[in-house]
Amino acid sequence: MILCLMGAGSVTYAQVAATNSYGTVNTVQPRIMVIPFTKEGEDIRTVLDEDVTRRIAITKVKEAFDNRGFSTVDFIGKLKSANDNKVFTSDNQEDIKSLLIQSSGADMYVQVEVDKQESASGNSVNVILSAYEAAGGNSLANKVGSSGKFYTEDYGKLTTKAVNACGSEMMNILQSKFTEIVNNGRSVMVDISFDQGASYTMSSEIKGQDLPLSDVLEEWMSKNAYKNNYHLQGTTDLRMIFDDVRIPLKDQATGRNYNANRFALEIFKYLKSIGLEPQKDVKGNTIYITLK
């Protein structure tokens, strides 16, 4: 009976023999998608159909990743999947881009802009590469590549030259950012709000803590963000947003992969322990906590 009681508070899961790696852990890699930049009036869903130089630019950037042994998330495939699943509910381009990135599961994306320049002294192409984290929108790397001027109308070749001029360095910058993430943690966003009709606000004092809820939350985040690294975007009576909270890539206790969902669970368990009724939702690296 004592043994049963001791086991009552924890749940254990048996290891399936077919997937047993005997303790070997491979670090989960970031999912990166290369997407086209779209100007006012252009539709990200169709822009590649209409412009071969953009297709070449995107393919060359993906090639730069391939040359470093890294596979990217396919934009066309994810676009098709999003269309099939009727993900897009409006024609607003910013919404479409956000929904596409969210539905793709990408942690990061590289936006590729192609700028053709025609002149009497020759034609050239400039390519602007911008890499961002999907959650929080932090900028990771930015490079501009130029083809140089040539008397040619083969913009495909000029685009290739422009990407070749900056592709390797873009990869080097990204790798240094990855090193920073390995050392200092991955960024997640934590958005805490209240359900309609909730009996608490951020000013409510929490029993046993003698502090307003917002301070209790910040205190917890201060202790549990990896290396105490977090940024509070702002607090109102009804909402608190930590727009950059660092969590480790690996569980510091077990050495296993760690992710936003696991961190969300820790927040959830803590909030329950102080008598609140939380609900959690995780979209990529953004954690939404709703308190009832």
Binding site: Q29, F65, F70, N164, L174, T179, V182
Partner: protein
């Protein structure tokens, strides 16, 4: 032996050209004889690639992304073997640039244009866990 090798090296290395996967660097080397001078010129190239980077090139930051002293402690067996003889396996071409110079100390100095297979070098560093593969 590794510490002696590293302290003998001087970073007189400059970029000549680069293509996809290779880089050609001009390096000077000094030694008791021409063979030693050539070897030191080649070692200079790899010292710069591993610990310094070459400005205005695709390898503009060091291939080994931890401090030099820490790397030499942590990867001592690999680096000793590398700077002993293994570095030669990553050289695809080496051309003498100019004449051999003789000094009053009876040493020989030479400038070499050395082409390095950077793709293979990067893969070797990753396979031996000296550097991380691209990503986390």
């Amino acid at each position: 032996m590794l510490l002696c090798m590293i302290t003998c090296l001087r970073a007189q290395v400059s970029l000549v050209s680069e293509t996809k996967g290779t880089i050609t660097l001009r390096s000077s080397g000094t030694g008791k004889n021409i063979d030693e001078a050539n070897a030191n010129a080649a070692r200079n190239v790899f010292f710069v690639l591993l610990y310094r980077g070459v400005p205005e090139s695709d390898i503009n930051s060091a291939l080994i992304d931890i401090p030099e002293q820490e790397a030499q402690q942590k990867f001592k067996p690999y680096l000793e073997a590398f700077f002993d003889k293994r570095y030669e396996t990553f050289i695809t071409n080496a051309v003498q640039n100019g004449d051999v110079m003789k000094s009053k100390h009876r040493t020989r100095s030479v400038y070499l244009d050395i082409t390095v297979n950077v793709q293979a070098l990067r893969k070797d560093l990753e396979d031996n866990k000296v550097t991380r593969k691209f990503g986390f």
